[in-house]
């Protein structure tokens, strides 16, 4: 390992610009002659739009145009599609009601898009928006997941009777019933996976631009996957040839899933740029982020676990209602199905699993993938069940897990919920975590806390995730509308530097560094001579973007393959230059050598020759520029054990996380510093869900009650401890790098670990997230209160 190669904690190349204020985010970009857009949004959760009178707004100072859904309909602008078809238990595709960028007849959530005002300044647009007169006929609303299917609930879409998007099953119910019939004990839990608002710190933004000379568009967007955005906008929404739209996602300030999707605002900016013959810019105010970014989670679940007398798992049944919000966002249907129920085996040998998921429409913002996407929900179900089972069976929580772990010699392991895990050593992570937390010392620590009048608890979470999002054929058979490979182009420049074009997109992950390490290590080129280019469909081969912890496992593998092609071509050129047989030429650390001689050529010399091919092998093309598309053979399966220790003040209900140990198996690691940073951030989001964050809509009015940081509780520095991170390693068996992905692990593991610790401290079996001080105070004092 060199100090800049694979495995080194190389300091990030991108940091200089971010630290000096030279980052270039979408809102930092201003185009000549640009106009500003402000959206007129619905103040109602559900209403018929009887009329929109835009005359006063159009006449206002600085206003260039006001558009409504009717204007977009006249241009045949389509519906924002959901790209994953989930077939229900009868084989019928999910209900897919239209989702127009600007509504046509009805608004269905607070923040829904009614009109756009385009003006010379943002202030003028905003001011004029108040002059757009919308005549609403208010309708009853349903905002609560659990009430969407009540017979009396308001109906959102004629296309979806009973507000049901799909009723989907996985596994064999009869087999599960048979397993439960044999059970010594059945543990049952009822869980709410609380709704979250992603809150990337950079609000979404877009600039649409139209070039009349070439009849083509450019969209600057805060996107995690510019190519997919381009594909969706062109093929499904705007009806453009794909060569007529270039999408640029420059520096993007965090995504966590919320910037995967194709949104109304960027669609409108692109479309409107041609109408007004000027670039149209929109930047969300945070309030708009709260109301109109896709939200996350929002499940209600009943789950049961059947065990024999030794606590060995015999079967699991899970019944979940998942809130889709008012419309289907780009990949929403897949989240509570293929990214959720397929993970219900966890790290365990549970032989039979049956899952039923009903997805419902409500008068709330669309719900889609948020860090972890389905897998945090699955881990929460499994690890809450297992924890409660341990308590009910009188087993140590570590022991019950160990008894049910899939053992290292059982891989590849076919779960009863469709996935085949390739490799793992779950016991190794548990052992290391127990040692790091000093599990044996917990009783003493608990006593010490009690002596101070505090309650101490410990909680485990043994998670698994399926990352890489994965073989195209597999996801295609499950309903995905796209392939899920990744591309890479590795270009040697004539003078020896390397430009790498990747379809993955970095919005905090540090690809410019980690991918450079990979290329530097593979090609033997100094890391400073490697440039990673991402986020521009105009210069990069078609790619699939960054989500699902896939960038390194899929995108990195594509880079690795492209580097292999570079080396193979270079070997031919080197052999020619050294007058040797190709088979005799070895490559190491950037140098080609003829085995057993002192002849050598650096790869830089070879690259120069490729572009100045005066002395060149016959039949070999000039240039040194290779592209690879990598389609993985399977998902990757990162796993690990997180242990959380909490101390609770029973007089106020305040929970303090006093220790956190994370032991993760991400396979091979390119940059440990970056990986640990990803783990920290993931845990913070998971702890946020468990302790602090909760998106609340008023049940009757459908008004968003947590519409700003005054009420939506973001984790702050003083809410969190320092984390202790350890690693184990079983390399992924099916990608060239042996890597698995690390971006979501913390968010997946943390909620269950936290709630398991709090319920342990309180001596209770269950409670819902977030564990707010009042809730914890009530639970801590419920016996006393009951006595009073």
């Amino acid at each position: 390992m060199t100090d800049t190669g694979i495995g080194a904690s190389v300091k990030r190349k991108e940091d200089f610009r971010f630290l000096t204020g030279e980052g270039r985010y979408t809102d930092d970009i201003n185009r000549p002659g640009q106009l500003h857009a402000y959206f007129v949004r619905s103040p109602h959760a559900h209403a018929a739009v009887k009329s929109v009178n835009k005359a006063d707004a159009e006449a206002a100072e600085g206003v260039v145009a006001v558009f409504t859904g009717a204007d977009m309909a006249a241009d045949n602008v389509g519906s924002l599609p959901c790209g994953w078809v989930v077939n229900d238990r009868h084989g019928e595709p999910h209900k897919a009601p239209p989702h127009f960028p600007l509504v046509r007849d009805k608004v269905r959530y607070v923040g829904d898009h009614v009109a756009v005002v385009i003006a010379k300044t943002y202030a003028a647009a905003r001011q004029a928006a108040e002059l757009v007169e919308v005549d609403y006929d208010e309708l009853p609303a349903v905002a609560e997941t659990g009430k969407a299917r009540d017979g009396s609930a308001a109906l959102l879409h004629e296309e979806a009777p009973g507000n049901l998007c799909y009723d989907w099953v996985l596994g064999d119910e009869a087999e599960a019933d048979a397993a439960f019939a044999k059970a010594h004990h059945v543990t049952r839990v009822d869980l709410v996976n609380n709704r979250l608002i992603p809150n990337a710190m950079e609000p979404r933004a877009a600039i649409g631009e139209y070039d009349m000379g070439t009849d083509s568009y450019t969209l600057y967007s805060t996107s995690q996957n510019p190519h997919l955005l381009k594909l969706i906008l062109c093929a499904f929404v705007l009806g453009l040839n794909e060569n007529k739209l270039r999408v640029i996602a420059p520096d993007v300030g965090g995504g966590f899933g919320s910037k995967i999707f194709c949104y109304a605002e960027e669609t409108v900016c692109t479309w409107a740029a041609k109408k007004v013959k000027a670039p149209v810019k929109w930047t969300a105010e945070r309030t708009e982020s709260f109301t109109s970014d896709a939200h996350g989670r929002d499940h209600i679940t009943h789950a049961e676990l059947a065990m024999d007398e030794n606590g060995k798992f015999l079967g699991m049944k899970v019944d979940t209602t998942a809130n889709m919000g008012a419309y289907l966002s780009s990949f929403s249907t897949s989240v509570p199905t293929y990214l959720y129920a397929t993970l219900l085996a966890g790290q365990y040998t549970t032989p039979v699993i049956f899952a039923n998921v009903k997805a419902v429409f409500t008068n709330t913002a669309p719900v889609d993938a948020y860090r972890g996407a389905g897998r945090p929900e699955a881990t929460y179900v499994v690890e809450r069940l297992v924890e409660v089972a341990a308590r009910e069976m009188g087993l140590d929580p570590a022991e019950i897990r160990r008894r049910n772990f899939i053992q290292p010699d059982q891989f590849p392991y076919q779960t009863p919920v469709a996935l085949q895990y390739d490799i793992g050593d779950y016991g190794a992570s548990l052992d290391k975590a127990l040692e790091m937390i000093d599990y044996d010392g917990f009783a003493g620590r608990r006593s010490a806390s009690e002596a101070k009048g505090m309650l101490r608890g410990i909680g485990f979470s043994a998670y698994i995730e399926a990352c890489g999002i994965a073989p195209s054929a597999v996801v295609g058979s499950l309903g995905a509308g796209v392939g899920l490979w990744e591309s890479a182009q590795v270009r040697f420049n004539a003078t020896g530097s390397v430009s790498v074009f990747t379809g993955a997109h970095s919005h905090g992950q540090g690809h410019e560094t980690t991918f450079s390490q990979l290329v530097s290590d593979t090609l033997g080129v100094p890391i400073e001579n490697v440039e990673i280019v991402h986020g521009d469909t105009g210069s990069i081969p078609m790619g699939m973007g960054t989500y699902g912890s896939r960038s390194l496992a899929v995108g990195g593998s594509a880079i690795s393959r492209a580097c292999d092609k570079i080396i193979e071509k270079s070997r031919k050129i080197a052999a020619h230059l050294m007058e040797a047989s190709v088979d005799d030429v070895e490559f190491e650390n950037g140098t080609f050598r003829v085995a057993g001689t002192d002849k050598e050529k650096s790869i830089a010399e070879v690259a120069f020759t490729a572009y100045v091919p005066h002395n060149y092998p016959e039949g070999v093309e000039p240039g040194l520029d290779e592209t690879a598309f990598y389609d993985p053979l399977n998902f990757t399966y990162p796993s690990g054990v997180h242990i959380c220790e909490v101390e609770i003040d029973p007089s106020t209900g305040v929970t303090e996380i006093v220790d956190w140990v994370a032991v993760d198996d991400f396979g091979k690691i390119i940059n440990p510093m970056v990986v640990e940073g990803q783990v920290h951030g993931g845990i913070a989001q998971g702890v946020g869900q468990a302790l602090l964050e909760n998106c609340v809509y008023d049940g009757d009015s459908g008004q968003l009650l947590t519409g700003s940081y005054m009420d939506y509780c973001m984790p702050r520095a003083d809410d969190l401890p320092s984390f202790r991170v350890g690693m184990t390693e079983t390399p992924c068996t099916h990608n060239p790098l042996g890597v698995k992905g690390c971006g979501e692990a913390g968010a997946i593991a943390a909620p269950a670990a936290t709630i398991n610790a709090i319920t342990n401290a309180l001596g209770i079996l269950s409670m819902d997230m977030p564990a707010s001080p009042e809730k914890v105070w009530r639970l801590a004092n419920q016996q006393k209160m009951a006595a009073e």
Binding site: D15, F16, L19, G21, G253, T287, H680
Partner: protein
Amino acid sequence: MPTVSMTVNGQAVTGEVEGRTLLVQFLREQLSLTGTHVGCDTSQCGACVVHVDGESVKSCSMLALQADGAEVTTIEGLASNGSLHPMQEAFREHHGLQCGFCTPGMVMSAVDLLKKNPNPDEGEIREWLEGNICRCTGYHNIVKAIQSAAASMRG
């Protein structure tokens, strides 16, 4: 329109603004100093923190005219002669940033902390950062970076 004059990163600047123009708008839109970011509209996220007369403030919650005559330092003014400020250096060294969006405000806030408390403990750092929200790092490495910067700035 009213005229505002101030010194920004050592340069005297003057501009015409509206009464309602926020300091952050003046910096970003008129001076093209886009390193100062806007992440919320309730003055909580801290992405917009700059120094006004040596004190860290949220430039999204101050009118440009309130800073008339003031010395303003933004993230662009922190490095000198091409070399990073020790706080910037420490953030880089300890991976105290990921997406970079909260970073300018975070760094400016941390610089103000060390001016007031050159040797803060972990709890004091975490409390000080109450007004700066980061969604990426979980704060772990930010805290480490500030501790490290404090040590190096004490010499």
